[in-house]
Amino acid sequence: MSKLLIFLTLIPLLPILTTSFSPENPSSRRVLVLLDDLALKSSHSVFFNSLQSRGFDLDFKLADDPKIGLHRYGQYLYDALILFCPTTERFGGSIDLAAILDFVDSGHDLIIAADSNASDLIREIATESGVDFDEDPAALVIDHISYAVSNTEGDHTLIASDEYIKSDVILGSKKIEAPVLFQGIGHSLNPSNSLVLKVLSASPSAYSSNPKSKLSNPPSLTGSAISLVSIVQARNNARILISGSLSMFSNRFFRSEVQKAGSPTKHEKSGNEQFLTELSKWVFHERGHLKAMNVRHHKAGEADEPTIYRVNDDLEYSVEIYEWSGTSWEPYVADDVQVQFYMMSPYVLKNLSTDKKGSYFTAFKVPDVYGVFQFKVEYRRLGYTSLSLSKQIPVRPFKHNEYERFIPAAYPYYGAAFSMMTGFFIFTAVHLYSK
């Protein structure tokens, strides 16, 4: 009896106990981190600690652990996956390329860090995500102009880049002052993939080659075509981060001072921590995740939503849009949200005005065309999840008794018609009685 009582009291608590990924709470919560070597856990601890302090539950596993798996009984055990295992040829347990692609296809997030000598498996995952790593396994990105100044002359593979994507939603609104240190393999974007974006690109003087051998052939990847860090936002809003360097996540790079060659300023701390923290916030849906709710429309001056509109009705349309801030839904403020009144093509296209509290509204007149229309909001902006709303509504023509009557301009016509009728009666009388 007491067991039953405990069970019954626990049932209402279940939604609170499970803090997993959901439309209401879109941040990733449970993260599986696959490592080559458990030493990475301490050498990259600053990055992991920043995730844990933001409430993520990190599960560290060796990549070849035979017990790892992404899902059990048809349920995913994790909301996101971090692959810090560039040399792994085969994952342990049930994880393989197809399992990872399924994981992303079902809307989960992924961070891939490769390095020189990256395994074929990691390269294949990257290729499926839309980027191609340099095929030469020993290749590194070399830059003899904008390398990071260090005590030893070195081979200029430690480069300092500050060529970021210009997007506040991806990199945060605070400007990243110090350049980002990078040492690793470069990749290029697949031109046929429109979803992948370069977040950090190499300088125009960079090239990708084996630093130990002489450069006999022109390098295949050169200049700003080399991407150092790329992101993908899939059509299901799953987000992927691909980096060509594992060491850029390390404590050593986070804490290192940086001076870009040719630049007089020496920064006490590299931009890596800020760059990767902000980027991980984006990848784990703490920023740039929109939701729309309460789509409403009604005739001007009325409150109820009609089942049908008549041509030339005046109507009002409103929708609420919120952005997930990591902990709560905040009003989303923009001036470029548009609504379409759509039947095969947009008949009305109007900018929505906002009250800065998340509510967007506009008013317009139904066009003088009847048929089945849709209210459509198609909102796709760099870094934001896409919003695609549509609500169907039929539009009918005037009813027979809704047309205007007794128009003053038509009185002469009415008069003519009636005078013809009286004329008919008079003529009939005259015709019959005139003999």
Binding site: Y403, R405, I407, A409, A410, P412, Y413, Y414, A416, A417, S419, M420, M421, G423, F424, F427, T428, V430, H431, L432, S434, K435
Partner: protein, 115 residues
């Protein structure tokens, strides 16, 4: 030749008037009725040209009721004319009944279309 033209026209008009004077009275009444209808239609067309074609259905019904009436009256005139041998077997009463029926149908349609 040029001088004689006005004289010829005058002679033609005169002969036409004297010939029309011989027309029976009941046909003259029908002619007056036709002229009245056509004149009313013309007034409406001029009015439409000035005001614009906005209640177009009203304009059409107004003008068509006039034109229709005129056409029906002309038909009646052909049928009751004694000199017209084509309808000599048709009694004038029958022709008048046809005229009344057609007018009823016409005005029913006009009332529906007037708006």
């Amino acid at each position: 030749m040029v001088k004689s033209t006005s004289k010829d026209a005058h002679a033609l008009f005169h002969s036409l008037r004297s010939a029309y004077a011989a027309t029976p009275t009941n046909l003259k009444i029908i002619d007056l009725y036709v002229v009245f209808s056509v004149f009313t239609a013309l007034i409406q067309v001029v009015y439409m040209a000035i005001v614009g074609s906005f209640p177009f259905n009203s304009f059409l019904s107004g003008v068509l009721s006039c034109i229709g009436t005129a056409v029906l009256a002309v038909c009646l005139r052909i049928q009751v004319n004694k000199e017209n041998k084509e309808f000599k077997d048709l009694p004038p009463e029958r022709a008048f009944a046809d005229f009344v029926l057609c007018n009823l149908v016409l005005h029913l349609v006009i009332m529906n279309f007037l708006g």
